[in-house]
Symmetry: C2
Subunit: 477 residues, 2 copies
Amino acid sequence: MVNQNEQSGGVEWRVNLPDETSKVLTTERIWLHEFIMGFFRKIWSFIQKALKIGRNDPRKLIHCLKVGVALSFVSLFYYMRPLYEGVGGNAMWAVLTVVVVFEYTVGATLYKCVNRASGTFLAGALGVGVHWIANQSGQRFEPIILQSSVFILASAATFSRFIPSIKARFDYGALIFILTFSLVSVSGYRVEKLFELAHHRLSTIAIGTSICIIISMLICPVWAGNELHNLIKNNMEKLADSLDGCVANYFKNDANANNTKSGLGYRCVLSSKVTEESLANFARWEPAHGGFSFGHPWKEYLKVGASLRSSAYCIEALDSIINSDSKSSDILKKHFSKFCVELSSKSSAVLKELAVITNTMTKSSKIDFIVEEMNNAAQELQNAMKSLSKQPIASTVTKLGGSDAGLDIVPLVEIVPLVTVSSLLIEIAARTENIAKAVNGLADIAEFRVESGEKSKKSQNPQVIIQISQKTMETSQ
Amino acid sequence: MVNQNEQSGGVEWRVNLPDETSKVLTTERIWLHEFIMGFFRKIWSFIQKALKIGRNDPRKLIHCLKVGVALSFVSLFYYMRPLYEGVGGNAMWAVLTVVVVFEYTVGATLYKCVNRASGTFLAGALGVGVHWIANQSGQRFEPIILQSSVFILASAATFSRFIPSIKARFDYGALIFILTFSLVSVSGYRVEKLFELAHHRLSTIAIGTSICIIISMLICPVWAGNELHNLIKNNMEKLADSLDGCVANYFKNDANANNTKSGLGYRCVLSSKVTEESLANFARWEPAHGGFSFGHPWKEYLKVGASLRSSAYCIEALDSIINSDSKSSDILKKHFSKFCVELSSKSSAVLKELAVITNTMTKSSKIDFIVEEMNNAAQELQNAMKSLSKQPIASTVTKLGGSDAGLDIVPLVEIVPLVTVSSLLIEIAARTENIAKAVNGLADIAEFRVESGEKSKKSQNPQVIIQISQKTMETSQ
């Protein structure tokens, strides 16, 4: 027995021993107190983390409620007598199906439903066939035939899960195939009511899957296709912000926390490959929704994603060069600043326009024009570097910083980071053009809407002018 | 009925119609022939793909056979009468467990086994408790209490799967918890033999999991920890080869297919994050194996992996700069070639030595020395760039290419790629040092063996000399 006493404001723990003495447990008390407080502190931080997740994405909360609703629906088969008579004790399979099949996105749920149904059907049919053959070949060979068929088919199906094309589409189906085939051919040896078993299993799975599909599609559906679409769009915006942030950071010498923070968006892009691929895999199971038809070219989104990532790699290198200690000559920096900021802002303008195109699913008449502007900015930056070299570096500097006549030579070391930043920016511009090409490919195949005719005509003119002016520039050089 | 005739060497398809006329099916025949051939061609290419996978990694084939063996073992419970009497029709759960739980690596199998067992136990206990409470509160409230408990607990458990720390360790357990709790509390309403159900389920799961664990650990085990270890080691080697390949490609102007191929290894490193994380998650469930104890610091491997990836990003940028069209002045290239190749070979030597350290799990006495050499090479490359700027670029060139007196000025544009390559190489060297730090951290925490004393003493000397000589270099500048 443990007693709690209060003495002079303090709390004491006493254990009453069998010989009627009692012991004060001060150290134990402290330990217990610490333990309980630590426990509650952990739980509290856990709850806060959970609340944060719920607040950031309420759809996750809704998903949880949807799972609850689906399970409640399925358990009705048990509670309501007429339904129970129909399906019997096998309603268990319906519960099992709902739990295993219900996923966050509609696409994933459909993928699992189709795989589960077809895997079960195929394995059930094969199992019944093998069982019939085994039955015909006498009691002695029956277990051998069944056993070896389980061994061979389970091994083969397991191996098929290693093949990428099957893994992407039918991984779960192969698992269910092994499961059902083993169950049917093994339990068939005893149960004797094989057809009934197969029929019950199929009908309960049908009940489970249809409940899942209906609930996941009707109550606040989360479409994998839509998620992929938004992910790609957001990644474009993140890259644009990162690029602006990095370059602004470098040339303005403002080490603002805000700038640095907005400059880190590219990190999400670096590691988004797996998410993109699984979303694209699930999206192709989804029916038409929003602006997307069935058979929307989700694979094209993966190409866009890959080109975004290749741009992000470059921005990562740029970010680290910018954050390294090496200093650039301030005068040259000022001179180059104009061109670099121009180029990066044009690149990020292209990215933002591409985000708008992807988001609205409307071909933009502006995009060619902006890409052209970006290329011109890249050309100007290269020209600026060329013009620097027309005269020995020393005199260039004195020209630029006229008042600073004492300064004769800018050490090449001080140009190095600037040159590196410039050539990385040019490389990023080239990769941004690749992104634009990938988005154009997507727009063509997915048949994005075209903006109204007048607008597109207007935009044709400046582009032609720019192209001509660029040609004259090139010939004059 | 379909007849096959041979006439003058050709084959004809005839359909005998009910009115005893017959029709020659030449176009259909061609179509059928095409269809069958296409079908077999597809199957053939599929088989070849499968064979290639099997040849590349025979352990995958062995895994498939292991699954077959485990399933055969479990089905023995059905075929052998005494065993069958013991477990009864519930042996189905053992089959189900084996199919679902058996994974490629031991760690993944253990993770699933522990999660399945603990999830089932926890949910079973809770289910029995809730069922008892519901039973006490009268027939009217029973279904309401059961239904709402399923709703609340299923929603809560589903939500917990969104929390990263739980997702990493107990995702499968949460799924099994929902499954078992729903089954127990729903079917308990009818079956009445609740304890027996729970007992059977637990014992069959115990049988299934123990078969899986024994087979996966005894027959050619694939340890997740070992896989992670090898992945990290191989990634280091791939980066070293890529770096060597890229730089050799650039400075030797040999566009050999071999070089290009070996230069692409870094691409695997770029996208290995998810594999590394899942392997590390599984590895912590594994008992001691090979040189790894239970509780080996697998998280440190993730840090090494992250630093390897950050290096790979830089190599990606380097690769694209090298493959871009822009030309460098040949004379300067020759001048810089020495320093760049030196630096990249030192960097890749560091990477290779780190791979050896990781592989042998032995602290190397050489590594500090090689890192120092790499830093010196980086310093020399920077010095080379500094010395270039001491005099106007034009005269530097005439000095270098003495015979080429007519050439006055090297356009800065031609230095740009060279400068970019150099500063990327310097950045890569800095990141390689980070990798070395991460590996050192791993070596300290995982208590790697130390090389024999004499060797490490020998290596101390050159390092000290180098450090002194570097200091004198720095003061003399």
